[in-house]
Symmetry: C2
Subunit: 176 residues, 2 copies
DNA sequence: TACATTTGCTAACGGTGTTAGGAAATTATA
DNA sequence: TATAATTTCCTAACACCGTTAGCAAATGTA
């Protein structure tokens, strides 16, 4: 049901219909809609943790473990898109529907030009521009969006450190 | 208005109230609610692009430019939280409200233990465990969430490459 | 003045989360 | 077994939502 129409169209009434009960019985089991979503989200985290544990068991050295765990995380998100959306608050209507937004291209170019210049400067021919751009975007957006949903007001200095660390790592990789 | 109660509580009727017109006049100017959000999102991208251009002008070498642009991006998201949420589809109700979800801690430990081991193995005392964990999470989550909102079905192999590239860079940084 | 167009409204439709209050069925008690 | 207590479940409503049909008033035009 969610897979067909997304979380936005999941209503208490539709749930009641599906389980062939009336609406108020649902409120006998859950305080409100958010509690239902929360419960499903919990299931998601449970499943993710399991997959990652299984993955980690496949490797012994820490670097290898990190790789297989990242793989497991990735595959979980891919195979359980709807769960992942719920777990991390994704899925609000947003302006990405409009792909060719000119200002988006501006941001893209600003980043890409500098990356390209850096690649040329240090003659790192193995570095793929497009790949590196996406990596940078992921680091930035990931850091910000995670910070936003766990609105940690206090640890904002830590977050800036994480940003600097990640960007430094990104640049260092481009230079070698 | 959005800043006080979030995007979820922004309704056409409230907008109509605020501008002291009736509801249907809004539909004379916008096709639907999504179009309104889209327009606001556009403004956001415009503003972000501007900030990044201004930042880039402050530096000449590409590495420095990347650093100041990342900073600008970060500060934009921080100062314009609501815009950023709209621009990247964040803000759905999710289970992060419940901070101490045990399965979340499991995932955290799985990652952290391996990172810690890797740090110990290569004796990189400058590496801060907590910092590195957050960096890894950001990379993973950023990559996945960006992939999700620009649902690029075709370029899934590229995305796997980006993931591998980013994780490799992360591990390489931990080892040196 | 008479017509045409724009402008804005009221009222409705079907949907949403949520809750009050009351039947019916079950269980416990005398 | 008959009555009381409790659980189970539903109908109906409230207040809100996005969206639209249809109409009145104001404005511009001939």
């Amino acid at each position: 049901m969610v897979k067909d129409e997304g979380w936005q169209s999941l209503s208490i009434r539709k749930i009641a219909d599906a389980i062939e009960y009336s609406v108020p019985v649902i409120y006998d089991h859950f305080e409100n809609k958010e509690a239902i979503l929360m419960e499903i989200g919990k299931e998601g985290f449970k499943s993710l943790a399991k997959k990652m544990q299984q993955a980690k068991a496949k490797s012994t050295d820490p670097a290898g473990q990190l790789r297989v765990m990242a793989d497991a995380y990735w595959h979980f998100a891919q195979k359980n898109k709807e769960y992942y959306q719920l777990m991390f608050g994704l899925g609000m209507p947003c302006c990405d529907v409009e792909k060719n937004l000119p200002e988006k291209m501006t941001v893209r170019s600003l980043f890409m030009d500098s990356i390209n210049e850096l690649i040329a400067k240090h003659q790192t021919p193995n570095a793929n521009l497009c790949l590196k751009y996406h990596t940078l975007c992921s680091i930035l957006h990931g850091l910000i969006s995670i910070r936003m949903l766990s609105n940690s007001d206090a640890s904002d200095t830590l977050n800036k450190l994480v940003l600097d660390d990640a960007i430094n790592g990104f640049i260092k990789n481009l230079e070698s």
